[in-house]
Amino acid sequence: MTPFRAVLRVLLASAVAFAISIPFASVRSTAEAGFTFDLRPAGTIAGVVAAAAILGELVRLAGRYLGPGAPRDARPPFALPAKARGAALAAAALLVALVPLWSGSGTVTMATEAMIFAVIAVGLQITIGMAGLLVLGHAGFWAVGAYTYGLLTIHLGWSFWPAMAAGGVAAAAMGFMVGLPALRLRGDYLAVVTLGFGEAVRAVLKNENKWTGGDANLPSNLVPGQLRGVQGEIGQWIWQPYGTPGRNGDYECYLTALGLLALCIFSVVRLARSREGRALFALREDETAAKCMGVDTVRTKLLAFTSSAMWAGLAGALTAVQRDSLNPELFDFNTSILFVAMVVLGGLGSVAGAVLGAGALWILPPLLQDWFEDITLYRPLVIGALMAGMMVVRPEGLLGSRSRKAAG
C-alpha cells in the first residue's frame, strides 16, 4: 500500500534472491581445489531482482490508477467509428505491404517471420485466451502444417496453394484428435496432454527420417532448396510490377504472410464477437456455469482446438516455404513456450495483444543485440520471468481484459 511497504518488499525480494542464489551462482566445484567461492554473481542477481521488483511495484501502482475499474466492454477512448476504422486498417495494411520496396532483405525476412508468428499467436489466443485451455504443444501443430506442406510438395509434387490448404487441414484434424480425449478433463491435464503431443510429433519427425530426410544423427532436414521450387506459383502477378527485392521469393512470402495475418485477425475478431466466441469466453470464466447456461462445452472446446490448430498449420506451410528447409528441432518445447509467452504478454483474449506479443518477442531481441550482446542467451530466462511476473502483477496482460473470477 504505502511506499514504505513497497520499499520493504523490494528489499526483501533482493535479499532472498541473494541468499538462495548463492549455492548456484557463487559456488563452483572444481576437480583440483574443491570449491571456489565468489559472492559477486549472487550480488548481481540480487541487483537484477531488485530492479525487477521496483518495476513490478511501479506496474502495480500504475495498474491501481489506470487498470481495472473500467467496465469490461467499454470502447477505448480513441476508438474510431467502424467505417473509418476499416479504412484506417486497410491503409495500414497497404502501407505494410509496400514496406519491402525500400527496406533490406534482412528486414523483410524478420518481418515475415514476425507475421507468421503473429498468425500462430492469434490462433493460439482462441484456445488459451478465449477458452482458457492451456496448450503447451502448439509447436506440434505448426510442425504438422510445415511437414505436410513439405512432404506433399516434394514427394507428390503438389503446388503451393493446395499444399498450404492441406497443411491447415492436417493440423486442424490433429487438433481435433488431441482435443477429443481432453474434453472430459480439467484444463490442467490438458496442458500435459498437449505437451506430450508436441514431444511425440518431434520424436516422429526425428525418427521417421526415411520421409522427413536426413540421418538420425544429423539434423534431419527436409531436402533444402526444393521447397522454394513452387514459389513462382504463389502469384506472379502480385510482385512482378515491382521487381523482386532481396532474395528471390522473399516478397511473395512477405505478402502471403501479410494476407494470412489479415485473414486470421479478421476471422478471429469475428469469432470473438459471435455466439461461439461468447461461449468460449464463458467457458474460460466458469465451465460449470457455462454448461448450465446451455453452452455445448464439447462442441465449443473442439471448435477452439481445431481452429487454433488450423492457423498454426497454415502458418507452418508458409514457414516451410520461407525457411526453405525444416528441422525437427525448430519445433521443440521452447518454441511452444514462446507461443504461450506471446499470448500471455500481449493479454489473454486480446487479438491485438497477441500480434503485439509476437512482434515484441520476435523483433525486439535482435534489435537489442547491438546494445546487449548476450541477449539470445538470456532470452528464455527473461521470457520465463515475464510469464510468471505478468501473472502475479498484471494477469490480464498488456492489452487484455480482466477476467472477473469470483474467488473460490
Partner: protein, 306 residues
Amino acid sequence: MIQTLWDGFVQGALYAVVALGYTMVYGILMLINFAHGEVMMLGAYAGVVTLAGLAGSGAMASLGLPLCLCGAVLASMGVAACYGFVVERVAYRPLRGAGSLSPLISAIGVSIVLQNFVMLTQGNAPIYVPGADKAWQDALTGGWTAGPLSVQPTDALIVAVCVLLMAGLWLFVQKTRIGTAMRATSQDRVMARLVGIDVDRVISATFVIGSALAAVAGVLTSLLTMQAKFDMGFLLGMKAFVAAVLGGIGNIPGAMLGGLLLGLVEAAGIYGLRADYKDVYAFGLLLVVLIARPRGLLGERVAEKV
C-alpha cells in the same frame, strides 16, 4: 528382459518419489507444480557439487563415502526446500483464487526461469559425480548377480532409499499433526480453515517436504547417470506427473504405485517396441489412463464442487 525390467523398476522408484511432490501439491491446490521437476534438478546440482567439492578437497577419502553421500543429500534437501518455499511464496500464493489458468502459466514461467538460471550460472555442460575418486571406487564396486539379472550397488541404494522415503512420508501424513492438517486441507480447504488450520502454513509445509523429497530423488538420479544437467528436470518431472495421474492424483500410495508402473511400462516399451520413442510412452500411457479411468488406479471419484 529381466534386466530391462529391473532398470525400469529402479527408474520407476525415482519417478514415484518425484510424483509424491506433484500429488501432494495437486491434492491441496489443484495445481500442477511445473517447477517441481526443476526443483529436483536444483537438488541434484547441489548434491553433485557437494560431492565433487568433498572429493576434490580430499575429504571424501578421510570421511568415507556413506558420510559424504549423507552430507550431499542433506545439503541438496536444504537447498531444494528453500527453493520450494520461495517459489510458492513468490509465484503461487499471490495467485490463489485467481482461476486455474494463471497459476499454471506462472508455474511454467518459474520452471523456465529456474532451468535457465542454472544453465547460466553453472554452464550448459553437465557436471559429473566424482566417480573416479578412490573412496567411491572402493565402496561402489561389485554388485550381485542372480541368473540373468545383475544388480548394481547404486540400484540397490536407490530402491532402498525410495522405499524408506515413501514409508516415512506415509507415516508422516498419517500420524503427525501437520500430516493430519495436510489431509484435512486437501479434502476441503475452506472447511479446514474454519476448524482453525493455518492453510497457508500447511501449503508451505507441503512445498518444503515435496521439494526435499524431490532433491533426494535428484541426487539419486545423478548417481544413476553419474551426472547432473540443467535440463534433466523437466521431462523427468512431466513423467513423474504422469505417474501421479496414473496412480490417482492427490493419492499418496497411488503416486508410488503409478511411479513403479510407469517405470515398468517404459522398460517394456524400450524392450518390446522401439527405444527411440522412449520419451513418448509415458504420454501415451497418460492418454490411455485419462480416457479409460481419469481418476487413476487408486483415485476416488470426486464430484466437482461448485
